[in-house]
């Protein structure tokens, strides 16, 4: 069986044109692939105008149509991640890392190409995104659990464990708006990590909270790995990636620059900085 690591060592080459011809090496459609991206491009349309009905009406009256610009966030990205792999993504700001993650989280639809995910997905994109500030910690556990796709009964069974992992104690009966950002992150991570995902998407969240909490996060990630969960991490923190990743994809200029085993790619990446 062709493993994603073995072929990806060859890398997509410094010359961008080669990545197309590499495509036949990908094992698209294999049942043990958790993530597949097939020639994926993502363009955004940026409008240069005021966003109001008023200005739209006025502009039509003087016959001035909105000027729009296309912005390419990702161009012709292809890779497969087999089940159980932990993949990190590095790259500078504005190179398309977050767009890539949003595509995997099904927030955006690719402009071209195909994205396939196999398994239950949990995204640690922004831990407190689903919180209702007026609700207590407990109420938010239920709300967020359902947003992540759990049923109420499943949450009932897990509530003790979530509360214990969050480690915010008595505060769970208080409104979340009184929480500190560290406590929010703890609670958010506690909920997301109890979703029992097959695929976990992580965005920079390893950088929040105190050292103790970060260790807890790493321990949890290792536990996920041990259970065969596919993990996809976007981070600037090379040291953190070294700790958890098997494989790293380096994105530069909206394309894949390198793709291979974590130590090599991270070494190469660090040299450029």
């Amino acid at each position: 069986m062709m493993n994603a690591v073995s072929h990806s060592l060859e890398s997509h080459g410094e010359a961008h044109g080669e990545s197309q011809s590499e495509a036949q090496n990908f094992n698209f459609g294999a049942a043990d692939n958790a993530i597949e991206l097939e020639n994926v491009s993502k363009n955004f349309v940026v409008y240069h105008r005021e966003r109001s009905v008023k200005s739209a009406v006025l502009k039509v009256l003087v016959w001035q149509l909105p000027r729009k610009e296309h912005f390419t966030a990702l161009e012709n990205i292809s890779f497969c991640v087999s089940k159980g792999q932990t993949v990190g993504v590095v790259g500078k700001n504005g190179q398309g890392k977050s767009t890539l993650l949003s595509l995997l989280a099904r927030i955006y639809r690719p402009t071209k190409g195909r994205v396939t995910m196999r398994g239950r997905i949990a995204s640690l994109l922004e831990l407190s995104a689903g919180f209702q500030p007026e609700f207590t910690g407990y109420e938010n556990i239920y709300l967020n659990g359902v947003i992540y796709g759990l049923t109420r009964a499943e949450i009932d069974a897990k509530i003790e464990s979530i509360a214990a992992f969050a480690g915010v104690g008595e505060h769970l009966t208080q409104q979340v708006k009184h929480y500190s950002s560290g406590m929010l992150a703890r609670l958010g991570f506690a909920i997301a990590s109890h979703v029992e995902p097959d695929i976990l998407l992580v965005d920079e969240v390893l950088a929040v909270g105190d050292a103790e909490f970060q260790d807890k996060c790493f321990a949890k990630l290792q536990e996920f790995k041990a259970h065969g969960v596919t993990i996809f991490v976007v981070s600037h923190d090379v040291r953190a990636l070294r700790r958890v990743c098997d494989r790293v994809i380096w994105i530069e200029n909206h394309r894949i620059k390198m793709d291979g085993p974590a130590p090599q790619i991270l070494d190469a990446y660090e040299k450029t900085r």
Binding site: V40, S41, V45, A105, Y108, R109, L125, F135, I147, R152
Partner: protein, 311 residues
């Protein structure tokens, strides 16, 4: 290359041993789901709909009885103000406040559903930008929680009919089987509000001033539906009446009012209008409401992906 374009991986794509289709998805650039697939996806997320409705109600009725009374307060104040105004400055209509209250809550339901739905994507932008769920459930949640609230107000209205006027209450004297028609009529208003809500939610992601515009337009629209004047006055103008009733909301309001209450006993010279007189128009209103709902939902679904990018 797989030929399957379906969004959810079916059994063909390696399902686990328990026979349930493996969760996950395939998204292909430039391809849209059919409306049927969208509906199925919404149904799959019914648990989330329930939870979000629960969240809405919890926020609204934070302290039980007080919260419920408090939310009835604004429309009741409106009823009181208009009743007093009519009493002192316009011609007398007996039981005016009852006729007014019957439609005031229905109007509130329509208006709140529309306004909430139009802001739903923006209010939940945090969530929508981070986590996948069918976007169409957000306006739906606004609709359901406003509907539940309407039923509370409706119960209050019915109680009101039993006590007013105190000397000779409207109910049970005028209670009739046409009361049952109120339920399909509320559904009709709901379809209309939801359809327009989807449309507004879509527009609100393109333009920032949609909220203010819709408040203004709804404020004007308030005068184009028979809320504070009796429909008999409109029917007395045969040149205007058919066009007036083409507005589905006007028909729904008249139908609702006359299903609950008898024709006015003193309409000021014009012939009284009973529920039976309105009934043919209900068909027209049903048709236009369904069309608006389908159209609104279709427009929303068509652009649900690009809407996310503009939030």
């Amino acid at each position: 290359m797989q030929s399957s374009l379906s969004k959810n991986h079916s059994a063909a794509n390696g399902s686990p041993a328990n026979g349930k289709p493996e969760p996950g998805f395939t998204v292909v650039g430039g391809q849209r789901e059919t409306l049927l697939e969208s509906l199925r996806e919404i149904w799959r997320f019914r648990g989330l709909i329930l939870e979000l409705v629960r969240r809405d109600l919890k926020v609204r009725y934070k302290n039980r009885v007080g919260g419920i009374l408090w939310s009835l307060f604004p429309p009741l104040m409106q009823v009181l103000t208009i009743t007093l105004m009519v009493k002192f400055f316009l011609t007398q209509v007996s039981n005016y406040s009852a006729y007014l209250m019957a439609v005031m809550f229905l109007w509130q339901f329509f208006q709140n559903t529309l306004l909430d739905a139009s802001q739903s994507l923006i209010h939940n932008a945090q969530l929508v930008r981070k986590i996948y769920f069918p976007r169409a459930i957000l306006p739906l949640v606004n609709f359901i929680s406003n509907l539940l609230h309407f039923f509370i107000a409706f119960a209050f209205t019915l109680c009101y009919f039993f006590v007013v006027p105190i000397s000779d209450p409207i109910y049970p004297k005028n209670l009739s089987w046409t009361l049952l028609w109120t339920l399909p009529i509320v559904c009709g208003v709901g379809m209309l509000a939801l359809g327009l809500g989807y449309l507004m939610a879509y527009l609100a992601t393109i333009y920032d001033d949609v909220k203010f515009l819709s408040i203004t337009v709804l404020g004007l629209f308030f005068y184009a539906v028979p809320i504070f004047y009796p429909i008999e006055r409109v029917a007395a103008q045969p040149a205007i009446y058919p066009f007036y009733m083409l507005n589905p909301m006007a028909t729904w309001m008249v139908g609702f009012q006359r299903a609950l209450l008898p024709p006015l006993s003193d309409p000021g010279g014009s012939p009284p209008i009973s529920f039976g007189d309105v009934a043919p128009w209900l068909g027209v209103a049903t048709f236009s409401s369904v069309v608006i709902l389908v159209l609104g939902f279709w427009i929303f679904e068509r652009s649900k992906w690009t809407m996310m990018e503009r939030l």
